[in-house]
Protein backbone atom coordinates (compact mmCIF):
# COMPACT_ATOMS: atom_id res chain seq x y z
CA UNK A 1 0.00 0.00 0.00
CA UNK A 2 2.88 2.30 0.88
CA UNK A 3 4.52 1.51 -2.44
CA UNK A 4 1.28 2.24 -4.22
CA UNK A 5 1.03 5.55 -2.40
CA UNK A 6 4.59 6.47 -3.34
CA UNK A 7 3.97 5.54 -6.96
CA UNK A 8 0.83 7.59 -6.92
CA UNK A 9 2.57 10.57 -5.36
CA UNK A 10 5.64 10.46 -7.58
CA UNK A 11 5.14 12.82 -10.50
CA UNK A 12 5.35 11.37 -13.95
CA UNK A 13 8.18 12.59 -16.19
CA UNK A 14 7.42 16.05 -17.41
CA UNK A 15 5.12 16.78 -14.51
CA UNK A 16 5.63 18.11 -11.05
CA UNK A 17 3.66 19.14 -8.03
CA UNK A 18 2.08 22.54 -8.13
CA UNK A 19 -0.18 23.48 -5.30
CA UNK A 20 -2.60 20.71 -4.65
CA UNK A 21 -2.37 19.14 -8.08
CA UNK A 22 0.00 18.59 -10.96
CA UNK A 23 1.23 21.01 -13.50
CA UNK A 24 3.12 20.27 -16.63
CA UNK A 25 6.75 21.23 -16.40
CA UNK A 26 9.05 22.82 -18.90
CA UNK A 27 11.51 19.97 -18.59
CA UNK A 28 12.15 20.23 -22.29
CA UNK A 29 13.64 23.66 -21.74
CA UNK A 30 17.07 24.47 -20.39
CA UNK A 31 18.51 27.39 -18.55
CA UNK A 32 21.04 29.42 -20.49
CA UNK A 33 23.96 30.98 -18.64
CA UNK A 34 24.48 34.37 -20.20
CA UNK A 35 27.32 36.86 -20.06
CA UNK A 36 28.13 40.14 -21.70
CA UNK A 37 29.12 39.90 -25.36
CA UNK A 38 32.50 41.43 -24.55
CA UNK A 39 33.33 38.64 -22.10
CA UNK A 40 36.06 36.47 -23.63
CA UNK A 41 34.95 33.37 -21.72
CA UNK A 42 33.14 30.82 -23.87
CA UNK A 43 32.99 27.79 -21.62
CA UNK A 44 32.81 27.04 -17.89
CA UNK A 45 32.84 23.78 -16.02
CA UNK A 46 29.88 23.17 -13.76
CA UNK A 47 32.24 23.41 -10.79
CA UNK A 48 33.49 26.80 -11.92
CA UNK A 49 29.93 27.93 -12.47
CA UNK A 50 28.99 26.78 -8.98
CA UNK A 51 31.87 28.74 -7.50
CA UNK A 52 30.76 31.83 -9.37
CA UNK A 53 27.15 31.46 -8.28
CA UNK A 54 28.26 30.93 -4.69
CA UNK A 55 30.42 34.04 -4.80
CA UNK A 56 33.62 32.06 -4.35
CA UNK A 57 35.05 33.50 -7.54
CA UNK A 58 34.89 37.21 -7.96
CA UNK A 59 36.91 37.86 -11.10
CA UNK A 60 36.94 36.75 -14.70
CA UNK A 61 40.25 35.65 -16.18
CA UNK A 62 40.60 39.07 -17.82
CA UNK A 63 40.52 40.67 -14.36
CA UNK A 64 37.07 42.14 -14.60
CA UNK A 65 34.94 41.71 -11.53
CA UNK A 66 32.12 39.21 -11.75
CA UNK A 67 28.71 40.71 -11.13
CA UNK A 68 26.18 38.05 -10.41
CA UNK A 69 22.59 38.74 -11.36
CA UNK A 70 19.88 36.50 -10.05
CA UNK A 71 16.11 36.35 -10.03
CA UNK A 72 14.03 36.67 -6.88
CA UNK A 73 13.01 33.72 -4.72
CA UNK A 74 10.15 31.71 -6.12
CA UNK A 75 11.08 32.15 -9.77
CA UNK A 76 11.50 28.80 -11.55
CA UNK A 77 14.80 29.91 -13.06
CA UNK A 78 16.23 30.61 -9.62
CA UNK A 79 14.96 27.32 -8.30
CA UNK A 80 16.66 25.54 -11.17
CA UNK A 81 19.97 27.28 -10.52
CA UNK A 82 19.85 26.56 -6.79
CA UNK A 83 18.98 22.95 -7.45
CA UNK A 84 21.26 22.15 -10.38
CA UNK A 85 24.22 24.44 -9.83
CA UNK A 86 24.40 25.54 -6.20
CA UNK A 87 22.81 22.41 -4.77
CA UNK A 88 21.27 24.39 -1.95
CA UNK A 89 17.82 25.41 -0.91
CA UNK A 90 16.73 29.00 -0.67
CA UNK A 91 17.53 29.38 3.02
CA UNK A 92 20.97 27.84 2.74
CA UNK A 93 21.77 29.97 -0.29
CA UNK A 94 20.80 33.19 1.51
CA UNK A 95 22.75 32.17 4.59
CA UNK A 96 25.75 31.28 2.48
CA UNK A 97 25.86 34.73 0.92
CA UNK A 98 25.17 36.53 4.15
CA UNK A 99 27.93 34.62 5.88
CA UNK A 100 30.29 35.13 2.95
CA UNK A 101 29.72 38.87 2.98
CA UNK A 102 30.17 38.90 6.74
CA UNK A 103 33.49 37.11 6.61
CA UNK A 104 34.57 39.15 3.61
CA UNK A 105 35.05 36.09 1.41
CA UNK A 106 32.24 37.17 -0.87
CA UNK A 107 33.18 40.49 -2.36
CA UNK A 108 29.73 41.63 -3.45
CA UNK A 109 26.20 40.36 -3.11
CA UNK A 110 24.26 39.41 -6.25
CA UNK A 111 21.94 41.81 -8.00
CA UNK A 112 18.34 40.68 -8.03
CA UNK A 113 16.21 41.42 -11.07
CA UNK A 114 12.67 40.28 -11.36
CA UNK A 115 12.27 39.49 -15.06
CA UNK A 116 14.27 37.69 -17.75
CA UNK A 117 14.23 40.89 -19.78
CA UNK A 118 15.74 42.71 -16.83
CA UNK A 119 18.42 40.07 -16.43
CA UNK A 120 19.25 40.21 -20.11
CA UNK A 121 19.48 43.97 -20.13
CA UNK A 122 21.64 43.99 -17.02
CA UNK A 123 24.02 41.50 -18.57
CA UNK A 124 24.07 43.57 -21.74
CA UNK A 125 24.90 46.67 -19.73
CA UNK A 126 27.53 45.32 -17.34
CA UNK A 127 30.66 43.81 -18.92
CA UNK A 128 31.40 41.51 -15.98
CA UNK A 129 27.85 40.34 -15.43
CA UNK A 130 26.67 36.76 -15.48
CA UNK A 131 23.08 35.63 -15.20
CA UNK A 132 20.62 33.05 -16.34
CA UNK A 133 17.45 33.01 -18.42
CA UNK A 134 15.42 30.37 -20.17
CA UNK A 135 16.63 29.54 -23.64
CA UNK A 136 13.46 31.11 -25.03
CA UNK A 137 14.46 34.42 -23.44
CA UNK A 138 17.91 34.58 -25.04
CA UNK A 139 18.61 37.10 -27.78
CA UNK A 140 21.63 38.49 -29.60
CA UNK A 141 22.36 41.12 -26.98
CA UNK A 142 24.04 38.55 -24.72
CA UNK A 143 26.38 35.61 -25.06
CA UNK A 144 25.38 32.11 -24.00
CA UNK A 145 28.15 30.19 -22.24
CA UNK A 146 28.88 26.54 -22.77
CA UNK A 147 28.78 24.52 -19.57
CA UNK A 148 31.17 21.59 -19.65
CA UNK A 149 31.34 22.17 -23.39
CA UNK A 150 27.61 21.95 -23.95
CA UNK A 151 25.05 24.52 -24.94
CA UNK A 152 21.43 24.55 -23.86
CA UNK A 153 19.57 22.05 -25.97
CA UNK A 154 22.57 19.77 -26.34
CA UNK A 155 22.21 16.28 -25.05
CA UNK A 156 23.47 15.93 -21.46
CA UNK A 157 23.34 19.68 -20.85
CA UNK A 158 23.38 19.94 -17.09
CA UNK A 159 21.05 22.81 -16.27
CA UNK A 160 17.52 21.79 -17.21
CA UNK A 161 14.68 23.99 -16.14
CA UNK A 162 12.44 21.25 -14.81
CA UNK A 163 10.28 23.94 -13.43
CA UNK A 164 6.62 24.57 -13.18
CA UNK A 165 4.73 26.10 -16.05
CA UNK A 166 3.48 29.61 -15.84
CA UNK A 167 0.71 30.19 -13.38
Amino acid sequence: MLVAAVVWLKPAPGWSFRGAGYAQTTSGQSLAIIVNQSNPVENLSLTELRRIFLGERSHWPNGRRITLVIMPPGEPEREAILREVCRMNEKDYNNHFLHGLFTGEVFASPKTLSTPVGVRKFVFNVPGAIGYVRTADVDDSVKVLRIDGLLPGDKDYKIPMQARLAK
Binding site: R65, D92, A108, K121, F124
Partner: protein, 435 residues
Protein backbone atom coordinates in the same frame (compact mmCIF):
# COMPACT_ATOMS: atom_id res chain seq x y z
CA UNK B 1 7.32 39.04 -97.01
CA UNK B 2 4.37 38.16 -94.98
CA UNK B 3 2.16 41.03 -93.89
CA UNK B 4 2.01 41.68 -90.20
CA UNK B 5 -1.40 43.23 -90.40
CA UNK B 6 -3.94 40.98 -88.84
CA UNK B 7 -7.32 41.12 -90.42
CA UNK B 8 -10.05 42.40 -88.20
CA UNK B 9 -12.45 39.73 -87.21
CA UNK B 10 -15.66 40.15 -85.19
CA UNK B 11 -13.95 39.06 -82.06
CA UNK B 12 -11.04 41.45 -82.31
CA UNK B 13 -13.35 44.31 -83.10
CA UNK B 14 -15.39 43.51 -80.01
CA UNK B 15 -12.30 43.35 -77.77
CA UNK B 16 -10.84 46.47 -79.28
CA UNK B 17 -14.08 48.27 -78.65
CA UNK B 18 -13.92 47.29 -74.97
CA UNK B 19 -10.32 48.49 -74.77
CA UNK B 20 -11.31 51.85 -76.12
CA UNK B 21 -13.96 52.04 -73.44
CA UNK B 22 -11.55 51.01 -70.63
CA UNK B 23 -8.52 52.98 -71.81
CA UNK B 24 -9.68 56.42 -70.64
CA UNK B 25 -10.41 54.93 -67.23
CA UNK B 26 -6.92 53.36 -67.04
CA UNK B 27 -5.31 56.60 -68.10
CA UNK B 28 -7.25 58.40 -65.42
CA UNK B 29 -6.17 55.97 -62.76
CA UNK B 30 -2.53 56.14 -63.86
CA UNK B 31 -2.51 59.89 -63.88
CA UNK B 32 -4.14 60.12 -60.50
CA UNK B 33 -1.60 57.65 -59.12
CA UNK B 34 1.28 59.76 -60.46
CA UNK B 35 -0.26 62.82 -58.87
CA UNK B 36 -0.63 61.07 -55.52
CA UNK B 37 2.94 59.81 -55.68
CA UNK B 38 4.13 63.26 -56.53
CA UNK B 39 2.29 64.62 -53.51
CA UNK B 40 3.63 61.91 -51.15
CA UNK B 41 7.31 61.88 -52.10
CA UNK B 42 9.13 65.10 -51.25
CA UNK B 43 11.63 66.64 -53.43
CA UNK B 44 15.08 64.90 -53.05
CA UNK B 45 16.67 68.08 -51.81
CA UNK B 46 14.00 68.46 -49.13
CA UNK B 47 14.47 64.85 -48.13
CA UNK B 48 18.21 65.36 -47.61
CA UNK B 49 17.59 68.42 -45.51
CA UNK B 50 15.14 66.53 -43.36
CA UNK B 51 17.58 63.65 -42.90
CA UNK B 52 20.38 66.04 -41.97
CA UNK B 53 18.13 67.79 -39.51
CA UNK B 54 17.17 64.46 -37.90
CA UNK B 55 20.79 63.36 -37.70
CA UNK B 56 21.82 66.64 -36.11
CA UNK B 57 19.08 66.25 -33.55
CA UNK B 58 20.25 62.73 -32.84
CA UNK B 59 23.86 63.88 -32.46
CA UNK B 60 22.73 66.52 -30.01
CA UNK B 61 20.79 63.92 -28.06
CA UNK B 62 23.77 61.60 -27.93
CA UNK B 63 26.13 64.41 -26.92
CA UNK B 64 23.81 65.35 -24.10
CA UNK B 65 23.63 61.74 -23.01
CA UNK B 66 27.43 61.35 -23.07
CA UNK B 67 27.77 64.49 -20.96
CA UNK B 68 25.21 63.14 -18.53
CA UNK B 69 26.96 59.78 -18.31
CA UNK B 70 30.37 61.36 -17.82
CA UNK B 71 29.03 63.49 -15.02
CA UNK B 72 27.36 60.50 -13.43
CA UNK B 73 30.42 58.30 -13.68
CA UNK B 74 32.85 60.66 -12.00
CA UNK B 75 34.64 58.68 -9.36
CA UNK B 76 33.27 55.33 -10.52
CA UNK B 77 34.76 53.96 -13.71
CA UNK B 78 32.66 50.82 -13.40
CA UNK B 79 31.24 50.80 -16.89
CA UNK B 80 33.59 50.08 -19.71
CA UNK B 81 33.87 52.82 -22.29
CA UNK B 82 32.92 50.32 -24.96
CA UNK B 83 29.40 50.43 -23.66
CA UNK B 84 28.89 53.83 -25.15
CA UNK B 85 29.39 52.46 -28.59
CA UNK B 86 27.18 49.53 -27.76
CA UNK B 87 24.49 51.89 -26.70
CA UNK B 88 24.56 53.66 -30.00
CA UNK B 89 23.93 50.46 -31.83
CA UNK B 90 21.63 48.71 -29.41
CA UNK B 91 19.74 50.88 -27.01
CA UNK B 92 18.77 49.40 -23.69
CA UNK B 93 16.45 50.54 -21.01
CA UNK B 94 17.51 51.23 -17.43
CA UNK B 95 16.94 48.60 -14.83
CA UNK B 96 17.02 48.90 -11.10
CA UNK B 97 17.23 46.07 -8.65
CA UNK B 98 13.51 45.93 -8.12
CA UNK B 99 11.87 47.17 -11.26
CA UNK B 100 10.99 44.90 -14.10
CA UNK B 101 10.54 46.94 -17.23
CA UNK B 102 9.89 50.53 -17.98
CA UNK B 103 8.55 51.76 -21.25
CA UNK B 104 10.74 54.83 -21.00
CA UNK B 105 13.11 56.04 -23.66
CA UNK B 106 16.36 54.15 -24.14
CA UNK B 107 18.75 54.89 -21.32
CA UNK B 108 21.75 53.32 -19.62
CA UNK B 109 21.68 52.09 -16.07
CA UNK B 110 23.08 54.42 -13.47
CA UNK B 111 25.95 52.41 -12.01
CA UNK B 112 27.68 55.39 -10.51
CA UNK B 113 26.18 55.18 -7.05
CA UNK B 114 28.08 53.57 -4.21
CA UNK B 115 25.75 51.20 -2.48
CA UNK B 116 25.78 51.27 1.30
CA UNK B 117 24.30 48.15 2.79
CA UNK B 118 23.60 47.57 6.42
CA UNK B 119 22.76 44.42 8.27
CA UNK B 120 22.19 44.13 11.98
CA UNK B 121 22.78 41.34 14.47
CA UNK B 122 21.92 41.08 18.10
CA UNK B 123 21.24 38.69 20.93
CA UNK B 124 19.80 38.57 24.40
CA UNK B 125 20.78 35.86 26.85
CA UNK B 126 19.53 34.57 30.15
CA UNK B 127 22.31 32.69 31.88
CA UNK B 128 23.21 31.37 35.25
CA UNK B 129 25.87 29.14 36.82
CA UNK B 130 27.18 27.99 40.15
CA UNK B 131 30.48 29.84 39.96
CA UNK B 132 31.13 31.88 43.07
CA UNK B 133 30.23 35.51 42.54
CA UNK B 134 28.14 34.96 39.42
CA UNK B 135 24.46 35.84 39.38
CA UNK B 136 21.69 34.69 37.10
CA UNK B 137 21.17 37.54 34.69
CA UNK B 138 19.59 38.70 31.53
CA UNK B 139 22.32 40.05 29.29
CA UNK B 140 22.20 42.24 26.27
CA UNK B 141 24.61 40.79 23.79
CA UNK B 142 26.49 42.66 21.16
CA UNK B 143 24.34 44.83 18.93
CA UNK B 144 26.24 44.69 15.70
CA UNK B 145 25.74 46.97 12.71
CA UNK B 146 27.51 45.41 9.78
CA UNK B 147 27.99 47.88 6.97
CA UNK B 148 29.46 47.30 3.53
CA UNK B 149 29.82 49.56 0.55
CA UNK B 150 30.94 48.91 -2.99
CA UNK B 151 33.26 51.84 -3.30
CA UNK B 152 34.20 50.94 -6.85
CA UNK B 153 34.66 47.86 -8.98
CA UNK B 154 37.78 46.80 -7.11
CA UNK B 155 37.36 48.56 -3.76
CA UNK B 156 34.97 47.69 -1.00
CA UNK B 157 34.46 49.03 2.48
CA UNK B 158 33.39 46.88 5.39
CA UNK B 159 32.83 47.67 9.02
CA UNK B 160 31.30 46.19 12.15
CA UNK B 161 30.11 48.74 14.67
CA UNK B 162 29.23 47.06 17.92
CA UNK B 163 27.27 48.44 20.86
CA UNK B 164 28.00 46.39 23.93
CA UNK B 165 27.46 46.56 27.65
CA UNK B 166 30.49 46.11 29.88
CA UNK B 167 30.79 44.63 33.37
CA UNK B 168 29.69 48.00 34.77
CA UNK B 169 26.46 47.73 32.75
CA UNK B 170 27.36 50.82 30.75
CA UNK B 171 26.97 50.49 27.01
CA UNK B 172 29.94 51.40 24.87
CA UNK B 173 30.66 51.44 21.18
CA UNK B 174 33.50 49.65 19.43
CA UNK B 175 34.54 49.60 15.83
CA UNK B 176 35.32 45.91 15.79
CA UNK B 177 36.25 45.73 12.15
CA UNK B 178 36.96 48.46 9.66
CA UNK B 179 38.46 47.47 6.37
CA UNK B 180 39.05 48.93 2.99
CA UNK B 181 39.51 46.02 0.62
CA UNK B 182 41.19 46.11 -2.74
CA UNK B 183 40.42 43.12 -4.90
CA UNK B 184 42.13 43.12 -8.29
CA UNK B 185 41.90 39.35 -8.74
CA UNK B 186 41.00 36.12 -7.01
CA UNK B 187 44.70 35.56 -6.39
CA UNK B 188 45.42 38.78 -4.57
CA UNK B 189 43.23 40.81 -2.25
CA UNK B 190 44.54 43.51 -0.02
CA UNK B 191 42.77 44.88 3.03
CA UNK B 192 43.86 47.66 5.35
CA UNK B 193 42.34 48.56 8.67
CA UNK B 194 41.17 46.57 11.64
CA UNK B 195 40.47 42.92 10.99
CA UNK B 196 40.14 39.56 12.69
CA UNK B 197 43.52 37.87 12.71
CA UNK B 198 43.58 34.74 10.54
CA UNK B 199 44.64 32.43 13.36
CA UNK B 200 42.93 29.10 12.88
CA UNK B 201 39.41 28.88 11.52
CA UNK B 202 36.88 30.21 13.99
CA UNK B 203 38.24 33.71 14.22
CA UNK B 204 37.66 34.55 10.59
CA UNK B 205 34.60 32.38 10.10
CA UNK B 206 32.67 33.97 12.96
CA UNK B 207 32.89 37.55 13.97
CA UNK B 208 30.60 39.59 16.21
CA UNK B 209 27.33 37.81 15.72
CA UNK B 210 26.03 34.90 17.76
CA UNK B 211 23.26 34.35 15.22
CA UNK B 212 25.77 32.91 12.75
CA UNK B 213 27.26 30.62 15.35
CA UNK B 214 25.73 27.32 16.21
CA UNK B 215 26.43 27.74 19.92
CA UNK B 216 25.68 30.57 22.33
CA UNK B 217 29.27 31.75 22.36
CA UNK B 218 32.76 31.34 21.04
CA UNK B 219 35.17 28.67 22.24
CA UNK B 220 37.43 29.71 25.18
CA UNK B 221 40.36 29.87 22.84
CA UNK B 222 38.69 32.40 20.59
CA UNK B 223 37.08 34.58 23.25
CA UNK B 224 37.49 38.26 22.53
CA UNK B 225 40.39 40.03 24.22
CA UNK B 226 38.11 42.09 26.47
CA UNK B 227 36.40 38.86 27.62
CA UNK B 228 39.69 37.37 28.72
CA UNK B 229 40.61 35.51 25.56
CA UNK B 230 44.31 34.65 25.15
CA UNK B 231 44.61 35.33 21.41
CA UNK B 232 45.15 38.54 19.46
CA UNK B 233 41.68 38.27 17.94
CA UNK B 234 41.82 41.73 16.39
CA UNK B 235 44.67 43.39 14.63
CA UNK B 236 45.24 46.72 12.96
CA UNK B 237 47.34 46.62 9.84
CA UNK B 238 47.42 45.10 6.39
CA UNK B 239 46.13 41.74 5.25
CA UNK B 240 46.76 40.08 1.90
CA UNK B 241 44.90 36.97 0.87
CA UNK B 242 43.92 34.97 -2.15
CA UNK B 243 43.98 31.74 -4.05
CA UNK B 244 47.13 29.82 -4.80
CA UNK B 245 46.97 28.19 -8.24
CA UNK B 246 46.63 24.59 -7.13
CA UNK B 247 43.88 23.05 -9.20
CA UNK B 248 41.46 20.85 -7.35
CA UNK B 249 43.32 21.27 -4.06
CA UNK B 250 41.96 24.79 -3.60
CA UNK B 251 44.89 26.28 -1.71
CA UNK B 252 44.54 29.74 -0.17
CA UNK B 253 46.95 32.00 1.64
CA UNK B 254 46.67 34.85 4.13
CA UNK B 255 49.57 37.12 5.08
CA UNK B 256 49.11 39.83 7.68
CA UNK B 257 51.22 42.56 9.25
CA UNK B 258 49.81 44.58 12.12
CA UNK B 259 50.32 46.20 15.48
CA UNK B 260 49.50 43.06 17.43
CA UNK B 261 48.04 42.99 20.90
CA UNK B 262 48.69 45.26 23.85
CA UNK B 263 50.74 43.59 26.57
CA UNK B 264 52.03 46.45 28.68
CA UNK B 265 49.15 46.40 31.11
CA UNK B 266 45.94 44.39 31.33
CA UNK B 267 44.14 47.66 32.00
CA UNK B 268 45.00 48.98 28.54
CA UNK B 269 42.75 48.64 25.53
CA UNK B 270 43.83 45.26 24.15
CA UNK B 271 43.74 46.27 20.49
CA UNK B 272 46.38 48.76 19.43
CA UNK B 273 44.13 50.91 17.28
CA UNK B 274 46.24 54.03 17.21
CA UNK B 275 49.69 53.45 18.64
CA UNK B 276 51.81 50.32 18.82
CA UNK B 277 53.62 49.89 22.11
CA UNK B 278 56.78 48.89 20.27
CA UNK B 279 58.23 49.06 16.79
CA UNK B 280 58.04 45.36 16.18
CA UNK B 281 55.08 44.39 14.05
CA UNK B 282 53.01 41.24 14.41
CA UNK B 283 53.18 38.87 11.46
CA UNK B 284 50.77 36.13 10.62
CA UNK B 285 50.94 33.65 7.79
CA UNK B 286 48.19 31.13 7.12
CA UNK B 287 47.56 28.49 4.48
CA UNK B 288 44.50 26.37 4.03
CA UNK B 289 43.04 24.05 1.45
CA UNK B 290 39.46 23.59 0.29
CA UNK B 291 39.66 20.52 -1.89
CA UNK B 292 37.19 20.42 -4.73
CA UNK B 293 36.53 16.73 -4.25
CA UNK B 294 35.18 17.14 -0.70
CA UNK B 295 32.96 20.15 -0.63
CA UNK B 296 32.80 21.66 2.86
CA UNK B 297 36.21 20.46 3.94
CA UNK B 298 38.83 22.97 4.94
CA UNK B 299 42.17 22.20 6.53
CA UNK B 300 45.05 24.50 7.25
CA UNK B 301 47.55 26.00 9.63
CA UNK B 302 48.85 29.39 10.66
CA UNK B 303 51.91 30.89 12.31
CA UNK B 304 51.70 34.16 14.24
CA UNK B 305 54.71 36.01 15.59
CA UNK B 306 54.95 39.16 17.70
CA UNK B 307 57.12 40.71 20.38
CA UNK B 308 55.34 41.79 23.55
CA UNK B 309 56.52 44.47 25.96
CA UNK B 310 54.83 43.91 29.32
CA UNK B 311 55.57 46.42 32.06
CA UNK B 312 58.31 45.42 34.54
CA UNK B 313 59.23 42.37 32.49
CA UNK B 314 61.69 41.63 29.73
CA UNK B 315 60.37 41.63 26.22
CA UNK B 316 58.64 38.43 25.28
CA UNK B 317 58.55 36.68 21.97
CA UNK B 318 55.05 35.41 21.22
CA UNK B 319 54.51 32.61 18.73
CA UNK B 320 51.11 31.09 18.05
CA UNK B 321 50.91 27.90 16.03
CA UNK B 322 47.45 26.79 14.97
CA UNK B 323 46.00 24.01 12.85
CA UNK B 324 42.43 23.20 11.91
CA UNK B 325 40.34 20.73 9.98
CA UNK B 326 36.67 21.55 9.57
CA UNK B 327 33.86 20.06 7.58
CA UNK B 328 30.98 22.45 7.15
CA UNK B 329 27.88 21.88 5.11
CA UNK B 330 24.51 23.57 5.53
CA UNK B 331 23.10 20.66 7.51
CA UNK B 332 26.23 19.42 9.21
CA UNK B 333 29.37 20.77 10.80
CA UNK B 334 32.38 19.30 12.47
CA UNK B 335 34.97 21.79 13.64
CA UNK B 336 38.36 20.79 15.00
CA UNK B 337 41.07 23.22 15.98
CA UNK B 338 44.22 23.01 18.04
CA UNK B 339 46.80 25.63 18.84
CA UNK B 340 49.66 26.44 21.14
CA UNK B 341 50.64 29.88 22.39
CA UNK B 342 54.35 30.12 23.17
CA UNK B 343 55.71 32.99 25.26
CA UNK B 344 59.52 33.14 25.35
CA UNK B 345 60.93 35.94 27.53
CA UNK B 346 64.13 37.37 26.02
CA UNK B 347 67.15 36.33 28.03
CA UNK B 348 65.45 33.33 29.62
CA UNK B 349 65.62 29.79 28.41
CA UNK B 350 62.15 28.91 29.69
CA UNK B 351 59.22 28.97 27.29
CA UNK B 352 55.65 29.16 28.59
CA UNK B 353 53.29 27.18 26.45
CA UNK B 354 49.53 27.27 26.48
CA UNK B 355 47.99 24.46 24.47
CA UNK B 356 44.32 24.36 23.60
CA UNK B 357 41.84 22.71 21.33
CA UNK B 358 38.16 22.25 20.76
CA UNK B 359 35.93 20.01 18.72
CA UNK B 360 32.38 20.87 17.80
CA UNK B 361 29.77 18.71 16.14
CA UNK B 362 26.24 19.57 15.05
CA UNK B 363 23.58 18.36 12.69
CA UNK B 364 20.45 20.04 11.46
CA UNK B 365 17.08 18.28 11.69
CA UNK B 366 14.50 20.58 10.19
CA UNK B 367 14.53 23.69 12.35
CA UNK B 368 16.42 21.99 15.16
CA UNK B 369 20.15 21.63 15.45
CA UNK B 370 21.54 19.73 18.42
CA UNK B 371 25.23 20.30 19.06
CA UNK B 372 28.11 19.21 21.19
CA UNK B 373 31.41 20.87 21.93
CA UNK B 374 34.37 19.85 24.00
CA UNK B 375 37.08 22.36 24.65
CA UNK B 376 40.36 22.48 26.49
CA UNK B 377 42.86 25.15 27.36
CA UNK B 378 45.73 24.85 29.80
CA UNK B 379 47.80 27.85 30.70
CA UNK B 380 50.76 27.68 33.00
CA UNK B 381 50.39 29.16 36.49
CA UNK B 382 53.50 31.17 35.80
CA UNK B 383 52.33 32.48 32.44
CA UNK B 384 53.84 35.99 32.33
CA UNK B 385 51.41 37.82 30.05
CA UNK B 386 47.90 36.51 30.66
CA UNK B 387 48.04 34.85 34.09
CA UNK B 388 44.27 34.75 34.69
CA UNK B 389 43.26 32.08 32.23
CA UNK B 390 44.55 28.91 33.86
CA UNK B 391 43.10 25.53 33.04
CA UNK B 392 39.62 25.12 31.61
CA UNK B 393 38.09 22.18 29.95
CA UNK B 394 34.79 20.48 29.61
CA UNK B 395 31.85 19.68 27.39
CA UNK B 396 28.92 21.75 26.23
CA UNK B 397 25.68 20.43 24.80
CA UNK B 398 22.88 22.44 23.36
CA UNK B 399 20.04 22.80 20.96
CA UNK B 400 19.56 25.53 18.42
CA UNK B 401 16.07 26.16 17.13
CA UNK B 402 15.61 28.38 14.10
CA UNK B 403 12.29 30.00 14.83
CA UNK B 404 12.49 31.81 11.51
CA UNK B 405 15.10 32.54 8.88
CA UNK B 406 16.32 35.42 11.04
CA UNK B 407 15.76 34.30 14.61
CA UNK B 408 17.48 31.48 16.45
CA UNK B 409 16.81 30.31 19.99
CA UNK B 410 19.55 28.33 21.72
CA UNK B 411 19.65 26.44 24.95
CA UNK B 412 23.10 25.37 26.13
CA UNK B 413 24.51 23.57 29.12
CA UNK B 414 28.20 23.92 29.96
CA UNK B 415 30.25 21.89 32.35
CA UNK B 416 33.65 23.46 32.90
CA UNK B 417 36.47 22.08 35.00
CA UNK B 418 38.88 24.60 36.44
CA UNK B 419 42.25 24.22 38.17
CA UNK B 420 41.91 24.10 41.93
CA UNK B 421 38.34 25.34 41.77
CA UNK B 422 34.92 23.79 41.81
CA UNK B 423 33.59 22.72 38.45
CA UNK B 424 31.12 25.14 36.96
CA UNK B 425 27.68 24.13 35.75
CA UNK B 426 26.19 26.77 33.53
CA UNK B 427 22.95 27.10 31.64
CA UNK B 428 22.18 29.68 29.00
CA UNK B 429 19.09 30.51 26.99
CA UNK B 430 19.77 32.85 24.13
CA UNK B 431 17.82 34.42 21.33
CA UNK B 432 20.00 35.61 18.49
CA UNK B 433 18.72 37.42 15.45
CA UNK B 434 19.60 39.32 12.35
CA UNK B 435 17.70 42.28 11.02
Amino acid sequence: MKSSIVPLTRTTVKVTGRIFKVLPMLLGVLLSTRVVRAQQAPDPADQDKQTIRMLLERVEQLEARVTQLEAARQGRPAVAPTLVTQQASTPAEPETETQAEQPSEPERMDLSKTLLRMRGFGDITLHGDNHKGDTTSFSLGQLNLFVTSDVSEKFKFLTEIVFEAGPDNAVGVDVERMLLEYSPSDYFNLAVGRYHTAIGYYNTAYHHSTWFQTTTGRPFLFDFEDKGGPLPIHNVGVSASGLIPSGRLGLHYVAEVGNGRTSRSPANEPVQNLVDENNHKAFNLAFFARPESVRGLQAGFSVYRDVLSPANLPRIGETILAAHAVFVRPKFEWLNEALVIRHAPFGLSHVFETPGFYTQLSKQFGSYRPYFRYQYMNESNREPVFPDIGLRHGPSVGLRYDASESVAVKLQYDYTLLRRQEAVNGLALQVGFTF
